[in-house]
Symmetry: C2
Subunit: 521 residues, 2 copies
Amino acid sequence: MIYPPTTPEPQGHHLTTQILNYQLTHGMHLKHIPLNPRLPRNSPVGSSYPISTSIFPTPFPKTLFYYAKQTLQPIYNELYALLAQDESWLYEAVIRPLLPVDAFARTLWEIHERLTNEGEQEGGGYGSNISMGLFRSDYMLHGENAGLQLKQVEFNTIACAGGCHANKAVDMHRYLTKTGVYDSLSGASDDEVKRDSPIKLSSLPVNDNIDALAESLAVAHDMYGRPAATRRAGVLFIVQPDNFNVADELPIEYALWDRDVPVPTYRVEWGVDVLERTCLGGDRELLFYPHLQGDGSDGGKRQPVEISVVYLRAGLEAHEYDSTGIECRVRLEQSRAIKCPSSLGHILTFKKVQQALMGPGVLERFLHSEEKVSAVRDTFMSMYPMDGVSTEGRVGRRLATNPDTAGRYILKPSLEGGGHNIYGEDIPGFLLGLTSESEWGRYVLMERIRSPIVGNVLISREGVEESDVISELGVFGLCIWKKGEILRNEAVGWSLKTKFADVDEMSVVKGFGCFDTPLLV
Amino acid sequence: MIYPPTTPEPQGHHLTTQILNYQLTHGMHLKHIPLNPRLPRNSPVGSSYPISTSIFPTPFPKTLFYYAKQTLQPIYNELYALLAQDESWLYEAVIRPLLPVDAFARTLWEIHERLTNEGEQEGGGYGSNISMGLFRSDYMLHGENAGLQLKQVEFNTIACAGGCHANKAVDMHRYLTKTGVYDSLSGASDDEVKRDSPIKLSSLPVNDNIDALAESLAVAHDMYGRPAATRRAGVLFIVQPDNFNVADELPIEYALWDRDVPVPTYRVEWGVDVLERTCLGGDRELLFYPHLQGDGSDGGKRQPVEISVVYLRAGLEAHEYDSTGIECRVRLEQSRAIKCPSSLGHILTFKKVQQALMGPGVLERFLHSEEKVSAVRDTFMSMYPMDGVSTEGRVGRRLATNPDTAGRYILKPSLEGGGHNIYGEDIPGFLLGLTSESEWGRYVLMERIRSPIVGNVLISREGVEESDVISELGVFGLCIWKKGEILRNEAVGWSLKTKFADVDEMSVVKGFGCFDTPLLV
């Protein structure tokens, strides 16, 4: 199979125009925020530019695609729901090693401890016994040909992004396929094309992330139960200020409002906006005063909305936890609203968790099934802590500081979001540049995944470029649980992201990589 | 009723943000084309900015809204279908007066004559006996209170725009209403708000222009009948190059592809692109070779698409008719494809037609019903020709050149599209500036419509501004006919556009005015 199809001019230009047109008319855009230094000043109010996408779908093994969704995701959902309930394991395996070296882990744990201690008194402590996760487990292909395997890049438990963009990118590639634009680009004659063209609608899986993520929140909203008689209930999206990627959040809100029985949904910015616009009711209800329904200053006549589900698309980065940010998180946790995620669920996003799960007997402790244990373990690449104490830590340090071995590894901090990893040959020098070796413990060392390389053409704000690429499959999972009981566990969606093979980072909104569709083979 | 509701900061800011977010995520954007001098250079590939919209729906009388759609539009559709079939009336009333003074009218008539003369020979002449119109009849309110009437601004027969934007603007105002953001802006307390807020979902009519315009084209596509056995049939959109307003065309194409039985739809640019990508088959089929399916140079192996319906979103402006443009139009007319519109249908868009319809007995000649005649006549403002020969023309010249009377009139050239009218006090000086009085005959003089003024807040790329505004209701009509028989006649959609009361022009894409939703009262 010749892939990608050749695109002689002017066909290439015509295809690019169709893609740009589709992006514009479907809101596959990023907001121009004046803070973004890559964009020109003085742009008109509300201007925007397209998110990067691939021109062609990228081949991906069909069996592994469905295995990740149908088999792996429910096991991972279960595993993380169980981890979130085992405070002592979490403390020993994740928190204790990080406390001395990772201020963010310390902050989150202090929030948890404060809530636990408050719990002794009336009106304090955790307000809900139901927890919700909208997870995203990311995989890359590893190996060659018949030996291809899925290896986990990371498991995200907070503010998992890309669902809406992925949905629309798939819609776009499916639309382009339907119109026949890919049929003829191989240069074959018409009859041959019909036989040979690898891009068929039936090979491009449907993606309904937007509806499925909305449905997930609606399920939790229903579980919350009825609000006090005089109140409406609604879902609250906690968002970052000046977010240029609103197009990955809003479609979920619109879908919630658009249901036969609308689920009222509101946005509030992380921090002071949360503190000013919410308060706790007598029964720990999270009461929210919408921005466009007065400020409550007129004698309390306004009826607040009782929040059923708090969906965090903010509060994932260390810098968000100044004293206001901490109070914001505590307020939310004190409330009866279901949090997606809870503080303990959030902590599970640390890379340290992945590494800790590799320890002998750990998976067996949580998953009482050999099959589940080996399914999860098969997705692991080698990972090492970087402490100077444990046996594994000493191995990690040796591999990371030796230029002969470091090339095969990635050094990952516990921080959420891309852009902070150190790759291969850069690792030894980076470690030496840190002020003290004790800081090394903030990182984990992970063996690099060796993905097969295919060709594609990517379109970004910089232009159109053909190149070798590699892809990353993300699977969205919904899990809702309370102590000892999993109430809901399913895969709800997926995303495929693709980047140039010679670029290490995979963050589409930062300009590395693009949204893509798997061509199932 | 206090209108619009007051919007104290920061509520106003919050509402504006919600609107900008909705516009971005729903493709209510205009493309940044580097040619547009109002936009900064060096913007990223594919960048765009929002189309102007009102912040609030604008009050509009319910009875007149439905009267325009349900009663007036079918009569107007019928009238224009009959006019298009009466070549002798068209020549006498419209073309003969324009021939000496209006080069565009001359060009279009020459195309018609060439096709008529060719008709004597085999292979030439008009190729289809079915004609299609997707019209838009524009009205403004005239008068006061109980005496309010609809007065026609113009009747458009080619490339009628605004359908998609109007649809999405209405969706947006309905979404905002559903979320409750308008409820509290009056400053009343919650109970009062519920009673007083004039903006209720039930007062905002649903708009489904996009589906309805797609359905209209699908109806004509079906009427065309089956293509030759080996071919696909499809609809061809003829579009302007470098169009920055693709968001008003593409949603119709997507809707056609998205039907249960997709109607294949293609885009081709007016002019050389049409000539290179199409040819006539042996039975006058318009055969189209899609851009992404080869250039036909490989021994003719590619199967072309047989075009069922030619939908013109180009070819409406005089400058498009160089020799290539003329050949393009002739090619299309020679084909069996149903044209929307045909050349004669196109000529009916000239303002001269409106004025000619005012002549004594003209409406009676076409509409054999007193009720229909008076319904149409009631929408007329006084109009005068500007020739120096007829009685009416002399009256027109006297009114237009006298500064005391000119203020009550608008001088309109026959050109399609906004931006060419001369208003009120500017008329006498403008006429004197023309090189000869014979040129005056290109214009018609129309009495200005005196619309009631209401308050609203408009958001455009320049910012947010509260002001007195006036609105214009456009009604989209579908009419398909062949000689002596109307095959389809219905109203298919509508748009509401609103502008500052002190601005004369109404062209949203040029930055005057915005898309709006009627608040039916």
